[in-house]
Amino acid sequence: MSSATTLLTAAAISIFALGYASAQEPALQPGEALAEWAGIYAVLSHPRCANCHVEDDRPRWSGPHYGATRVHGFNVQRGTDGSGLGNPGLRCTTCHFESNSKDLHGPPGAENWHLAPAEMVWWQKSSAQICAQIKDPTRNGGRSLEEIARHVRDDKLVGWGWEPGAGREPAPGSAEETYLALERWADAGAPCPVE
């Protein structure tokens, strides 16, 4: 047997073994997996995340000093080209730079500040709706669940949700915790709640 064949055979056995172990010993029981999703939903539906995952063209503002959630001031919009980068003359990056303003009510900042695509809508959506959306490649940026987990862990703009600057409530937990929760939920079959 050639060395290449040996390697391929070993790889095949490893893959089989992994699949077998996964089938025999699921990482989480169904109820536990749904509880894991509930924690993920608490992050995705949090204002630091959902305020820029909107269905229409207007990012939202919210926080203790706003009373009710309101649309972003200054006629800020997604952009008539659908880019999420704002309109000519008034881009997101006209005010949002790479770091949070230290001044009260100053603009928060992170790399590549922009609105999420309209199909990735979380604002005012239920747990079941967001769960179905996050698993649908036509509405999640063409990502696998593993890619979504890594995106949550590594993307600087996503990470801003946990470090939003003074005066803003951060999303629950951390990027790393949410990444791990997504991994465990995906390994358990990524169950969604039923409405």
């Binding site: 200054f74 919009q77 008539t80 003359g89 100053g106």
Partner: protein
């Protein structure tokens, strides 16, 4: 650090956290951009970085990654920028405090949309406030500036 402002190098010895507006006004002596709110909420401090409008009161010096253009840098040697010319012809300014920022945003708009509609103008100018309420004149001046620019004037 060295900035390029209106095509010229400018040496700035300052904390990288200092807002660009402070450096322009207090160190470089470039007084066109104005301090209004200090939190990117009024637009009076608007300048361009590589052609994109930014609120210089909130942009830290250490994050300036490109050439800065202020209101002092948009005219050519013998001619005002079409937006400046239209501003005069339409007599837009009342107190005039916001106009440097208004004009810089309008210049950027026309660079991307040569013949803007009223909606394009509203979409671009929403972050530039005018306490005198000259918005109808601002809109008229931008339409006139578009015509002047397209005519090569």
């Amino acid at each position: 650090m060295r900035l390029t402002v209106n095509g010229r190098p400018v040496e700035i010895e300052a904390d990288p956290e200092m807002p660009l507006l402070w450096a322009l006004r207090d160190i470089a002596g470039i007084l066109g951009p104005k301090f209004g709110c200090g939190i990117a909420a009024c637009g009076a401090c608007t300048v361009h970085v590589d052609g994109t409008p930014v609120r210089s009161c909130a942009l830290p010096l250490g994050q300036v990654n490109g050439a800065v253009t202020t209101i002092e840098g948009i005219a050519s040697e013998d001619r005002l920028h079409p937006v400046q010319q239209a501003w005069l012809e339409e007599q837009v300014a009342q107190c005039g405090y916001c106009q440097a920022g208004q004009i810089m945003t309008a210049v950027a708009l026309l660079d991307e949309i040569p013949e803007p509609t009223d909606q394009d103008i509203d979409n671009a100018m929403g972050g530039n406030l005018c306490r005198c309420g000259t918005y109808p004149k601002i809109r008229a001046a931008i339409h006139k500036a578009a015509a002047l620019k397209l005519a090569g004037l």
